[in-house]
């Protein structure tokens, strides 16, 4: 197994894959973390600050549904969509590249 690992390590495409996938994953992770902390902050810490105060306002004049409810709902939906976005890119672009790298490394290693 070791010699295949060496071959993969030596392939510049592997580092390209790693770089792309890492940046994509971390970007999405930061979006998720920021949203969770924003939500916790607005609810638990600073409900009176500007970034949270409008959460208590109804979305329509005289209505009962507030912005906070809509934001929580949308955030949950967006999280699901982000997971879907990640898996789409991972299953197409990243997996194709990965399979090519592994196949070449195995061939070069004579397997």
């Amino acid at each position: 197994m070791q010699h295949i690992y060496r071959k993969i390590q030596a392939d510049p495409r592997f580092h390209e894959l790693e770089h792309k996938r890492g940046r994509f994953g971390w970007t999405l992770a930061v979006i998720v973390l920021a949203n969770c902390f924003w939500y916790m902050g607005a609810t638990a810490f600073f409900p009176d600050l500007a970034f949270a105060r409008f959460w208590g306002e109804p979305i329509a004049e005289g209505g009962s549904t507030t912005w906070g409810i809509v934001i929580g709902f949308v955030q949950t939906v967006v999280f699901i969509l982000l997971v879907g976005l990640y898996i789409y890119r991972a299953n197409t672009e990243f997996d194709t590249l990965k399979d090519a790298i592994v196949a070449d490394a195995r061939r070069a290693a004579g397997e």
Partner: protein, 550 residues
């Protein structure tokens, strides 16, 4: 019990609100025949599954990882089953019933664990693991110290979680079904031993899957029947809730009901990071054939779990709108019978009558049995694969022996669960759910994360940091407001926060980094050098465990 104590963890499918049922005993119910009948149907189906699974369970791989042949969709549903329990349904509904909008924080924030798991961990976990989370770190670290730490921490996790589930279950079941507490414990014990000892991971997975479908259907029915009642007007439902609730419009607004922001933050962090590193959930990643199916599992799990959390946006407020002013569900003082935890259950009766109440009660029972089965197999794998096969027998145990030890461990854990459930009857054990989450967020998460992302981590650093996380967690919990303050009667805690996770996570990461940096032993140098190989394997799946061939 304060809001903070309650909030927490339940949310994640743990047993907290259930546990707090113990404090507000509901009136004894008559034997609920509809519920019992439906539960018997579930038992028949699940035992049928177990019988079928037992015939397919031969090797260790079958027993502990379902032979790696579960599909991403099935596994996603099973993970949903591990994560979302009826406790989550009842707990979140109870929080919204009492505190309105602020209760929703426990729908929205813990869900963040799922995207994080997908973006940072899912592929790597599958590519590095085999049966347990100790396998992941054994790829480049020294086997004996790492496995000892992780398997013992897993057992602490499992037992802590088990006590909460068993006590909560006994109380809930005796309330809903009108059967005796001890009898409920024994029934749960017998069922999980049958599932796990005979059917192993295959049976556990399918039972979990059936339960997830039942729970999602039940919650969907409650949600849509409630909306139907308000002519499909969400705004109308909210308006009715506002007019019923003494806090009025405040239930739709963030209100700062969380009085201790540091604890709330600590709790949120614990739920997110701890939720991403629970052994009984992570071991599900090893039941699928490859990283692609592992990703699919997370996608389906995130979709189902997210859907469930979205339902709580309606269910919680529907309980206010339909239960809070309905005399059928109120006691002489005008308070909800059985406490706020019963809000979702009463709502099911309000929207679907006694037949649907029976269905939901049966689902609640099935859910607890399934979650306990998941915990039991996680504990059994820590004993048989980590402690017995790898530490005690140095990897020389035969397949047959490992399966046998797994089965025996499952029986012992089941019996142990029943004994603990009976021993802790009527005690306030709600705080105990903090133990497993502190362990997973301060021991498992830092070790897994650093071992996958940081070349510099060494065995010495990981073990030192894990031990600090575990030890400090136990000490701070003991000195905190719940145990030192309330249970030991000192009024307040020496350590002021209910959730030590914020501090133990930082201490654990810090210790791991410092000790690893100082570690210049030959072993440490070798472990750093092996990072490259581990990295390639985690990224490509070359050399990963393949599904069993039959």
């Amino acid at each position: 019990m304060s809001l903070n104590a309650r909030l927490l963890a339940l949310l994640i499918g743990a047993g907290l609100p259930l546990a707090s049922l113990a404090e507000t005993p509901a009136p004894e119910r008559d034997l609920n025949t509809i519920a019992i009948g439906m539960f018997l149907v579930f038992v028949m189906i699940s035992l049928g599954i177990t019988f079928w699974a037992a015939r397919r369970t031969r090797s260790t791989s079958d027993f502990l990882a379902a032979g790696g042949r579960i599909s991403g969709f099935q596994n996603g549903l099973a993970i949903t089953g591990d994560w979302v329990s009826s406790a989550a349904l009842m707990g979140i509904a109870a929080l919204i019933y009492s505190t309105g909008f602020d209760g929703l924080i426990y729908s929205v924030v813990p869900f963040g664990a799922w995207p994080l798991m997908m973006f940072l961990m899912a592929d790597r976990l599958r590519n590095l693991g085999k049966y347990t989370i100790a396998d992941i770190v054994s790829v480049r670290f020294s086997r004996i110290p790492m496995r000892t730490l992780i398997s013992l921490s897993s057992l602490v996790f499992v037992v802590g979680y088990l006590i909460v589930q068993m006590v909560g279950a006994g109380t809930l079941i005796s309330n809903l079904f009108g059967i005796d507490y001890t009898a409920a414990q024994v029934i749960i014990g017998i069922l999980i031993v049958l599932y796990v000892a005979f059917g192993g991971m295959i049976a556990t997975t399918y039972v979990q899957l059936v339960k997830a479908v039942l729970l999602l259907s039940g919650a969907s029915f409650i949600c849509f029947a409630a909306l139907f009642h308000f002519d499909w007007s969400v705004d109308g439902l909210y308006a009715s809730a506002i007019s019923n609730h003494p806090q009025g419009m405040k239930i739709m607004q963030p209100g700062g009901l969380l009085t201790d922001p540091i604890s709330a933050f600590s709790c949120g962090l614990m739920l997110m990071l701890g939720g991403a590193a629970m052994p009984h959930v992570l071991m599900r990643f090893f039941t699928v054939p490859d990283a692609r199916q592992a990703r699919l599992s997370v996608f389906y799990a995130a979709s189902f779990i997210g859907y469930f959390y979205l339902l709580t946006f309606i269910i919680g407020y529907a309980a206010i709108a339909m239960v809070m002013k309905d005399p059928r569900f109120l006691d002489a003082n005008g308070l909800i019978t059985g406490g706020a935890n019963m809000a979702a259950i009463h709502l099911s009766e309000a929207v679907g009558g006694s037949f649907f109440l029976g269905f939901i009660s049966a689902v609640a029972f099935a859910t607890i049995v399934a979650v306990v089965a998941g915990l039991t197999i996680a504990g059994a794998s820590a004993i048989s694969h980590d402690l017995y096969a790898n530490i005690f027998r140095h990897g020389k145990a035969t397949d047959h022996q490992v399966v046998k030890v797994s089965r025996i461990s499952a029986v012992c854990l089941g019996a142990f669960g029943v004994v603990l459930g009976i021993a802790f009857k009527d005690q306030n054990i709600a705080y105990m759910i903090t133990i497993p989450f502190t362990v997973s967020s301060s021991v498992f998460f830092p070790i897994l994360f650093l071992s996958m992302y940081w070349r510099g981590l060494t065995t010495r650093g990981a073990v030192a940091g894990g031990a600090v996380g575990l030890g400090l967690g136990v000490i701070l919990l003991f000195l905190g407001p719940t145990i030192w303050g309330e249970i030991l009667g000192h009024g307040e805690g020496i350590f002021p926060y209910k959730y030590p996770a914020l501090f133990t996570i930082i201490a654990s990461f810090f210790t791991m980094i410092v000790v690893s940096k100082l570690d210049d032993s030959p072993r440490a140098r070798r472990e750093r050098a092996e990072f490259d190989d581990q990295f390639v394997r985690s990224q490509t799946g070359v050399g990963a465990e393949a599904p069993a061939q039959h």
